[in-house]
Amino acid sequence: MSDWVEIKKIAENDEYATYDYFFGPNHPGMHGNFGYVCDVVGSTIVRVRVNAGQLHRGFEKLMEQNLWFQNISLIPRICVVDPDPNEVAYCTAVERLFGIDIPVRAKYLRSLALEMSRMTSFLMGMGALGAMMGLYSVMYRMLTDRDHLLDMFEWLTGHRIYHMYNLPGGVRRDLPEGFVTKFMELLRELEFNLREWDSLLFENPVVHKRLKGIGTVTAEQAVGIGLTGPNLRATGFVADVRKDDPYAAYPYLDFDVITTEGGDALARAVQIRKEYEMTIGLIRQIIEKMPGGDTKVFLGNPLKFRVPSGDTYARVESSKGEYGYYVVSDGGLKPYRVSVRGPSLPAGLALCHEHLPGMRIDDIAIWMASLAVCPPDIDR
């Protein structure tokens, strides 16, 4: 630690000792279009400035210009790796304001789409973490498995990435013929591959040495700064939106909240591996327990659909944390205000000022990948 004190003294006394390092938008280690401008002495960072806004589209203004049902085509595009929690949060808020409850089969189908989306996001996140450390074979294998899941999505909803599957009132389509048998085969294959990734990534001594001690947070720090999801559970704090504020079919399913001790990048990687296994078990439960029935409630003509005035906040647990939608309605045909809460903002914009000074520049990419900082939901 005495090195760090010396480096800070050099940086303060001599204005030409530091140089500007752009861990910037055009960088192979960056996930998406986002930048940190760092003041660096040698290879240690002294200060960080955030360069956000390259992905800003003005979503919240665009959503005020469309009808309530037209927004369904805009909403999945907020997050590119995990689009379903956004749709479910918006639909939950609208249904709560309208005062209806959707049929039970629709709840199970919503949970199925959410859990599948969570698995694709975990695969991409862990593949990116492996690639940041130089283990490209892990990324190639995980993305191939993710592609098989995207094929299943295309069969169920019609699109690989932006499903637009949830509507206010239920879901758009029912399960196709033969979907369940093929999907159970795919789940067996995914569970089998988990052993290969254990030996490649999660029990690899090189990975343990590289990830240990990066980005350590305690439970109080994490709650105070606003971390949610697997990042918070990896510090030992027990919190899961599926248990605290249940939505869709989670009240009927049987699962426990998993935590890990440690709070650093290695604990977060182990946490995601445990949650991946839990998700496969949850999907099996959903498919076994799914009842028959309708898939949606008919809410009248979409062009004349009005929501009673009021406001509410709906939250959903995604693979990165808590997605929240604050929807305000004044009784009209279009939303009055929709505000989106993305899970990466506390880590990307606030925690960086505490963690990055003192870190070497080789570790920034790993820090971002382990905290699941995904820029589209910072900029919206």
Partner: protein
Amino acid sequence: MLMVSKEEIMDGKFERILNFFRSRSLWMLYYCTGCGAVELPPTMTSRFDCERFGFGPMATPRQSDILLVTGYVSVKTLKRIIRSYEQMPEPKYVIGFGSCPVNGGIYWKSYATINHLDRYIPVDLNLTGCMPRPQAVIDGFLTLADMIRKGEAVGYKKYRMNYEWYKRNQDQVLGRKEPVFKEIPPAAPVQEEKILAMEGVK
């Protein structure tokens, strides 16, 4: 607007011999500018494998051939894209990925994204779709390789010959000195009657 003749801009015979070799080894700049970038890793990894056609990723613009503009372009991104494009050595090609560089796509009403990329840098090929599948991306790459062999992918010459025109358009967006609205226009009236009248019901 852009007055060039076909003879002075298409590649001549000697260039086409070089293009035969260039089209089989093209490196793309790995800059994920927008949401379309999520279909690039599946295209480059083992399932669809675009590297067998000669396309591979490259980190720095100084050594790449293709600038892949994946998806919508916000104003801050436009500044970086122009800088990266001008750092690339010639010959260089631009592919507009998705529907957003063509006419604004689903974000055409937005105050933060530009609508026509062709006004700021020259675009050689457009791949529409939201988003294009990996098979469509590979099809687009092969079409670009075809265009290069025939001598038609000459956006960089257009940029060189009409530099003032492109620069004027870029400065209008990036170097703005006055507000666009000189006085605040009244907010658009709520068009509820128009929507209800569409159904024929009052």
